[in-house]
């Protein structure tokens, strides 16, 4: 347990606290274009419900004060009420902080060279993905639903050549604008990596044609 905490607190990790001035594995000439999180509205409902839950102990105290006024004078029962309310408040406060942290640690960074996706699920689950812009083939923005339309937030799906998995920016603000900017950045980056992209395309063509040749001919009846 203590070694785990020491590891968490030490600075030996290749990707420590994220700093926009010093991104992990920084590429020369790279500039941050977008720093995205889910839209604030996605966490508002959770936040409001936690605030209601946090005020519940006050409601219990008010109920006890009005219906059982002698409880505050009871030297045995009142300490138990205080113990219970303090524990309830502490754990709800912790869960609220963890929920905020879960929102806060999910980040998508778009730079002039690449896209960084950092997703935190729970306390001990963290996924960091990186994608070079010139490898992107398709960018789709989706705004679906009443709240999404009113507050202008939605998903941006990024598809790369040959990759089964997609990069998805979930519930980010102004997805159409983000998608448009990413496509522009991809075009600019592709010009810089023209030769590399050509080689990749040739390699793909070769593998496709080889795949066709190796398929067995259909038997004639």
């Amino acid at each position: 347990m203590s070694s785990l905490l020491l590891h968490l607190l030490s600075n030996s990790d290749p990707m420590p606290m994220l700093d926009l001035r010093h991104l992990p594995n920084e590429i020369p000439g790279e500039h941050v274009v977008y720093f995205l999180r889910r839209h604030v509205i996605t966490i508002t409902s959770l936040f409001v419900s936690y605030v209601f839950i946090l005020t519940a102990p006050l409601a219990v105290l008010w109920y006890l004060a009005t219906n059982v006024p002698t409880i505050s004078d009871d030297p045995r029962l009142f300490p138990l009420v205080v113990l219970g309310i303090s524990l309830f408040f502490l754990f709800v406060w912790l869960f609220l902080f963890q929920a905020l942290m879960d929102y806060y640690l999910d980040i998508w960074v778009v730079t002039t060279k690449r896209i960084l996706s950092i997703e935190q699920t729970g306390l001990f689950n963290r996924r960091v993905s990186e994608l070079r812009l010139y490898r992107i083939q398709d960018v789709t923005a989706t705004v679906s639903g009443f709240l999404h339309t009113v507050f202008n937030y939605g998903n941006v799906e990024i598809q790369t050549a040959g990759e089964k998995e997609r990069f998805i920016f979930e519930d980010v603000p102004s997805p159409n604008e983000v998608a448009k900017t990413i496509l522009q950045l991809v075009e600019e980056d592709r010009k810089e990596h023209f030769d590399e992209a050509l080689e990749e395309m040739d390699a793909k063509k070769d593998s496709h044609s080889r795949g066709r040749h190796t398929t067995p001919p259909v038997a004639e009846e």
Partner: protein
């Protein structure tokens, strides 16, 4: 009759569990979070409120006489008389 101090011990154990979870949460937040004033201030607010609640509760609990016992079965319960 349950000694009142048992409840205090249970409270202390649960507060210790809270402290451990809070430590992990803060460690992960400050280690993997985005280096900004927001990260530090959110962590500071969380810590201040949590410490404030524990100290206030602790201050009250110091005044309680924990040598008492709690009777879970009320003495006014009907008894069978032969």
């Amino acid at each position: 009759m349950i000694p009142l101090s048992w409840f205090l011990i249970a409270w202390l154990i649960l507060v210790a569990i809270f402290a451990l979870l809070a430590l992990f949460t803060i460690a992960i937040n400050t280690r993997y979070g985005f280096a900004s004033l927001g990260t530090y201030s959110a962590t500071a607010i969380f810590l201040l409120v949590a410490v404030g609640v524990i100290l206030t509760t602790g201050g009250y609990l110091m005044t309680v006489d924990w040598s008492q016992s709690l009777n879970v079965i009320p003495s006014s319960a009907p008894t069978l008389e032969l």
